[in-house]
């Protein structure tokens, strides 16, 4: 899929995300001395942001509920995702995860 947004919209996204991300990075480095670290309740919630957001990004790319359970489970994307998760778990290596995941995806796509 390709975006239908024009250059202005794309650049607006680049600049907005860039500025807000810089503000996040600079926040406590700048504020130090004025506050004592992150408020504990916020810090606790922030701890779960990476796992929750990454899972929310990943899951729909692998799990696409089909008309039957078999169609959902025998999807090359899900098979590749499961195999890649195993590789990620055992090696913690992004390159290996990518390589094995892509090969599984291509192979399953040809076989199924």
């Amino acid at each position: 899929m390709t975006t239908t947004y024009g250059p202005l919209a794309v650049w607006a996204v680049v600049v907005a995300v860039g500025l807000l991300t810089f503000a996040i990075r600079y926040s406590f480095i700048y504020l130090l001395g004025r506050v004592d670290g992150v408020p504990p309740r916020i810090e606790r919630a922030l701890r779960y942001v990476p796992a929750a957001v990454l899972a929310a990004l990943v899951a729909p790319a692998f799990v696409d509920p089909g008309p039957t359970a078999a169609a959902t489970l025998l999807d090359p994307r899900l098979l590749a995702g499961v195999v890649a998760a195993g590789v990620a778990w055992t090696t913690e290596n992004m390159f290996a995860t990518l390589a094995v995941g892509m090969v599984t995806f291509w192979t399953a796509g040809t076989v199924l």
């Binding site: 807000l20 996040i24 926040s27 130090l32 929310a56 990004l57 990620a88």
Partner: protein, 227 residues
């Protein structure tokens, strides 16, 4: 000519093992941006201005789906919220720096530069923090930019049929798995992922935001129960 400080070299060297992950990640970021219809300049601009891989991929992915711009920006920013923890954690070590250097160091703050620097700073009081940090962080920045540019150059010539866009969720997956270090985090991921799958058809990509929020809430609840 003043000698190159040892701590600068030590910082650069510390990044070497990470580059095996950084380079393919940067390549994917470049390819994905071009695939999504960004011009080469926009794709490279994204890497330079934002300089945060996971949020770049998410933004590009959502742009390709023509999600509303508010959702694109919000999602990318939510992904980067974790950096506020890094900012808070590393701030005491930058206290002696001038404002200008603080801002410079902040721009280069990433998962990798934070992880390397905090390990070194807590381990060795004698390290020249600015040199070590900049050695590591600027190297990571430079490798990231080069990898993105190569990805942008290659991306235009990769046929769609190869399904290269499938590499994007695989990159996220390899970032997700090491996060699953304890029960609350596993629950946060399970709830976040499930809500996102159920909400895949919701308008404005609300499934993603809903999944993220539900996952964070679930993590906090589970942690509260355990305590």
């Amino acid at each position: 000519m003043p000698r190159v400080p040892d701590d600068l070299v030590a910082g650069i060297r510390a990044t070497l093992p990470l580059q095996l992950g950084l380079i393919p990640f940067g390549l994917v970021a470049g390819v994905a941006a071009v695939d999504a219809g960004l011009s080469p300049l926009q794709a490279i601009g994204l890497s330079v201005v934002v300089f945060a891989g996971a949020s770049q991929l998410a933004a590009v992915d959502l742009l390709a789906q023509d999600a509303s711009l508010v959702v694109v920006v919000l999602t990318a920013v939510v992904i980067n919220l974790r950096m506020s923890m890094y900012s808070a954690s590393i701030a005491p070590y930058f206290e002696s720096l001038r404002r200008r250097w603080e801002a410079t160091c902040a721009y280069f703050l990433t998962d990798m530069s934070y992880a390397l620097a905090i390990a070194e700073f807590t381990d060795d009081d004698e390290t020249d923090r600015r040199w070590y940090y900049l050695g590591a962080a600027v190297t990571i920045w430079a490798v990231w930019q080069v990898a993105t540019v190569v990805g942008v150059a290659v991306g235009a010539s990769v046929p769609d049929a190869w399904g290269v866009s499938f590499a994007v969720p695989l990159v996220f997956l390899s970032l997700l798995v090491p996060e699953l270090a304890d029960r609350p985090r596993v629950v946060a991921a399970l709830v976040g992922g499930s809500v996102a799958v159920l909400g895949a058809g919701w308008p404005l990509n609300l499934g993603l935001l809903g999944g993220a929020l539900a996952g964070v809430a679930a993590g906090v609840v589970v942690e509260g129960r355990a305590a």
